[in-house]
Amino acid sequence: MSDKTVEVFSTDFWQAFAPELVLVFGLVLIFIIPNLGNSKFRIPLTKVKVPWFLGGRRFKLTGSPAIPGMLATATLFTALGMMVIETIDGNSSATTVTSGDVVLLQIDNFSRLFEIIFLAAVLLASMASLDRVPANTFAGKKSLNEMYDNRRQADFYILMLTTALGMCTVALAQDLFVLFVGLELASLATYVLVGFHKESKAGAESGVKYFIVGSVASGIGLYGLSLLYLEFGSLQLATLSANWENGSILGTIALGLVLVGFGFKVSAAPFHFAAPDAYAGANSPVAGVLATASKAMGMIGLVRVLLVVALPGSESDESAVWLYTLATLSVVTMTWGNLAALGSKNPKRMLAYSSVAHAGYMMAALTAVGAWKWGEVDAPAEYAEAIVAAVLFHLFVLVAFKLGAFLVLALLEMEGGASRLSALSGLAKRDPLIGTAMFIFMLALAGVPPLAGFMSKFLVVAGIVSASIGELSTNGSVSFSELHWIWWLALAMFINSAISVFYYLRIGVVMFLDVPEEGRRKPLPYGASIRMAIWICLVATIILGLSGDTLIDMCYRAAESLNLG
């Protein structure tokens, strides 16, 4: 197969976008099916009534509150399956969608890999939500919470699917504005998801905080886009990157503003303040999606803008400024995240801060690519691709262990809150397997071999170190001062991951040593699908750590399709 270009809404277009269409189709089904009923439509001016099926008395079968969740899970599973089958055999062809001479979307290994990350995260979260936001039959007397849950089933899964769809758009976009529209689609849905439990004070509050910070960030990002458009007359990635060298200072300012929008999504310092509040108030599967898929979405933005559009060229002095800024921000982000996590008593906030720290690690990797891109490091393109591939690998395996940790918290939320560290106490005694799973997720987050978290951190650091060494090694004798300063970023990363061991271990200690709280002595509630989701995460954490070759290959192909060189 070779690369091809298709016009939007042509036959080829529908073929290429089959997985995304499945998502849209599923979304429409969730709108329609719960509303099926026996209503009739009277043709105006006559007495003829035609069955119309929407509204009226709902049918018992289709009106069941369990339907939307099943539909959403099945839809996501189908779409994910289609993508994986398409990608796993190393399909290297790219499909570009144009409208006239405007390039809108592009399916290649890079976008497909990200779509797989998004769909996997949302799929696991909606599997978990089948138990976390449980659907009951309408029969019998229900508590208020159960009634609320029942009524909101369709809303919840519609929002989940919308998030997934928006994220896929971001991954596919070849035009910065299209990218931003996708980002907004996903963000708007997540604002609502964060504040979904509006009956709780924490839910409402976190919704408001997340919404305000998020929309200010996206407002700034959009203004940056409009300035970019003013400067270059187009927001096409290809055009921007071709004309970048000729841009004025306005372009640089605009780029900075756009980065604010993405920086919020990856929860990089100094835009990370909303993340802990949002995660703490949201229910855990949603928080897990925010920490994995939403972060990956922000990373796409950063990669597209920083690496594809690129910053000032090698000759310009400004490149150094950018590089220093990015490096400083990455170190500040990872250190701040870890230090804040040390002081946090709430496991969800702790995971939020740890996700801030992980954002810092990935920004450090991007700095290394930047150093290569801006000619500070003398190395062939494979070095940069290796780092990008490592970041992709990291984003992928985050879905396994970070989401897994959130799902364990979701299991605890089913019997009451999980917002205190003591909620976890004695977990290993109450349920040894779940406790062990949580401990393994923690070890993976800390980067202990042979788990996936170690592999990803290892690859990122190896990438940074390789770029800092570059082609120096060929002449045998190297002086330490010849290494590029990004080597110190690798050291900062490792020192930070050593700090992070403190709080990850603390969770393990609490689970294995402490006596369970009052009212939490019994075994954990049983939820078949959430437990299955946790097992999937656990198996992936271990397998991807032991043998990640297939995934690493996929990530390399994805990085190659970016055409960095």
Binding site: V448, P450, G476, D553
Partner: protein, 556 residues
């Protein structure tokens, strides 16, 4: 059930080795020594964790027995490999040659392979590990919650062997970190009062140090010349294979040429050494050790002191010293000073302790200092001495901790004051304790003596009269200890009062399993004291090969 299970395991092993006679294609390391203990313990742990408390009590004894049998298999294999019962193994190896070498590609993209093999450096440690695990299991037979305790010991053993047989930097690091997890749990679940603090301190200290080591390893990895072929990463063009690294480094360390240049050698050597010195541990990185030992259960302490500390010395000898000989010369005096300080400091602090286990822990620090002195001496005999010290201390210190554990078990106290008149109440325990201290302090005809004497011999040509310092410290502390021990253990009980910690009960003597374990350890201490050449021959060969291969070149 037990016999059936064992039969299944043996049958599985046989199926894995269809050609027992074809020695070249038989993998005696991966599955029997490393994979088998880890997998069996994982299965047992999963099995034990599923059951209710009542079922767990019933299951404890069968699981214990099964674990013991499972731990005997690696011991049998490693012993058989030494005596050439299974296949003929040539232990007389050149530098960078390994017996029973096996390599399987693991992660192709970055050049990681499952590469294992043994030589005179690693085989004694491997045998020691396989030997200590069953002894530890016997010693701590009555430990509570045995259904998970003993499998963790087994897993620990597998991971430790993995460290010693790994010939791939990545694999080495994976096992290096893997040993932390069972030990963390052993301290956390079976430890003393402050176990929470001790377990975390242990984990964090060693983890922090080893990430710095890892950064050094990664930097080293990328500084290698790029190449391609089997074992090389398809993407990175480098390999984590130690043997390739050693031969590359060796080839470039010729004459005035220096692998990677001197400055880079110094930095990388320091980065790697931080990881190893913390693990060893040497002063000033030693503070985790007393805490971990005091809180750890007996079995944990035995493996920790017996094998885990040696990982540090092993790592030093295996990686940085072999590839950065110039840096070793540069740092020689610093290593000597660290070793001397560890030795003196450990011995002096040891004198002031009232807690028996803490005292033993500091004596370990002191002995690790002896190993560093051997390395700093830059004499073949010093290296052989360091190796033999690792081995001898690996038998003696578990015995000391076994004695401490038995003392704690029966006297419910760790205070030395409670030992008063112990010989009267528990003659066996008193004799073992006296014996273990004698061995630890290096009395002639016991294993520790040989190593200390050899270090002193090696120390002389390099540092001259400085020898008086370690010599006097060793002699004076030995004399002081034996005198005070003898006074407390044998003379103190004249009043006929049992120690207060027992609330008036008559202290019992040690149990049968403890007796068996200690006899075995004592026996081997004597055997290796009288016939050190059993192990020393192999170590000598390795040392000579190392000096021929690494140090004998134009530059030095």
């Amino acid at each position: 059930m037990l016999v059936g299970g064992l039969l299944v395991v043996v049958a599985g092993l046989m199926a894995f080795f269809p050609s027992m006679d074809d020695s070249s294609s038989t993998d005696w390391i991966s599955i029997p020594l490393v994979g088998f203990p880890i997998v069996v313990s994982c299965i047992l742990l999963a099995f034990a964790s599923q059951e209710s408390r009542a079922r767990k009590e019933i299951l404890a004894t069968p699981i214990r027995l099964f674990t013991l049998c499972a731990s005997l298999i690696p011991l049998a294999i490693s012993t058989a490999l030494f005596f050439d019962w299974l296949i003929l193994v040539d232990w007389d190896l050149m530098y960078n040659e390994y017996a029973l070498e096996k390599e399987y590609i693991w992660i192709e993209t970055i050049g990681v392979s499952w590469h294992v093999g043994m030589d005179g450096l690693s085989f004694p440690m491997v045998w020691l590990t396989t030997f200590l695990v069953p002894v530890t299991i016997i010693m701590t037979w009555e430990e509570k919650d045995g259904a998970t305790y003993h499998p963790l010991l087994l897993m620990m053993g597998g991971a430790l062997i993995g460290v010693f047989v790994a010939l791939d930097l990545f694999l080495f690091y994976v096992f290096w970190e893997l040993t932390l997890i069972p030990m963390f749990f052993l301290i956390l679940k079976w430890g003393g009062k402050d176990r929470r603090y001790a377990a975390q301190k242990f984990f964090i200290y060693t983890f922090c140090a080893s990430v710095i080591m890892l950064l050094g390893l990664i930097t080293l990895y990328f500084l290698q010349p790029e190449s391609s072929g089997s074992g090389y990463g398809t993407v990175t063009g480098r390999t984590f294979d130690m043997t390739v690294l050693f031969s590359n480094a060796n080839a470039m360390n010729m004459g005035d040429n220096v692998f990677l240049g001197k400055e880079m050698q110094y930095i990388l050597f320091a980065m790697l050494m931080i990881g190893f010195l913390v693990k060893l541990p040497a002063v000033p990185f030693h503070t985790w050790l007393p805490d971990a030992h005091v809180q750890a259960p007996t079995g944990g302490s035995m493996l920790l002191a017996g094998v885990m500390l040696k990982m540090g010395a092993y790592g030093m000898l295996r990686i940085p010293i072999a590839i950065f000989p110039d840096a070793l010369i540069f740092y020689q005096d610093i290593i000597m000073i660290i070793g001397l300080v560890s030795l003196v400091w450990g011995a002096v602090v040891c004198l002031g302790q009232t807690n028996l286990k803490r005292m033993v822990a500091y004596s370990s620090v002191s002995h690790m200092g002896v190993i560093l002195l051997g390395i700093a001496s830059m004499q073949p005999i010093g290296y052989a001495a360091a190796l033999f010290m690792m081995f001898a201390h690996g038998i003696i210190s578990p015995m000391l901790f076994a004695v401490c554990g038995a003392f704690k078990h029966h006297y419910h106290s760790m205070e030395i004051g409670a030992m008063r008149g112990m010989a009267k109440w528990s003659p066996f325990l008193a004799v073992y304790m006296m014996f273990a201290w004698m061995a630890s302090l290096g009395l002639p005809l016991l294993a520790g003596f040989v190593a200390e004497l050899m270090v002193m011999i090696a120390f002389w040509p390099e540092y001259g009269w400085w020898i008086l310092l370690p010599g006097f410290v060793l002699a004076i502390t030995a004399a002081y200890y034996l005198w005070s021990m003898q006074r407390t253990i044998f003379e103190g009980g004249d009043e006929g009062q049992p120690p207060e910690s027992l609330n008036g009960e008559t202290p019992p003597d040690i149990t049968l399993p403890e007796n068996i374990g200690m006899i075995i350890l004592a026996l081997f201490t004597v055997i290796f004291g009288i016939f050190p050449f059993i192990a020393l021959g192999m170590m000598d060969d390795w040392t000579v090969a190392l000096f021929e291969g690494v140090f004998n070149r134009g530059g030095i």
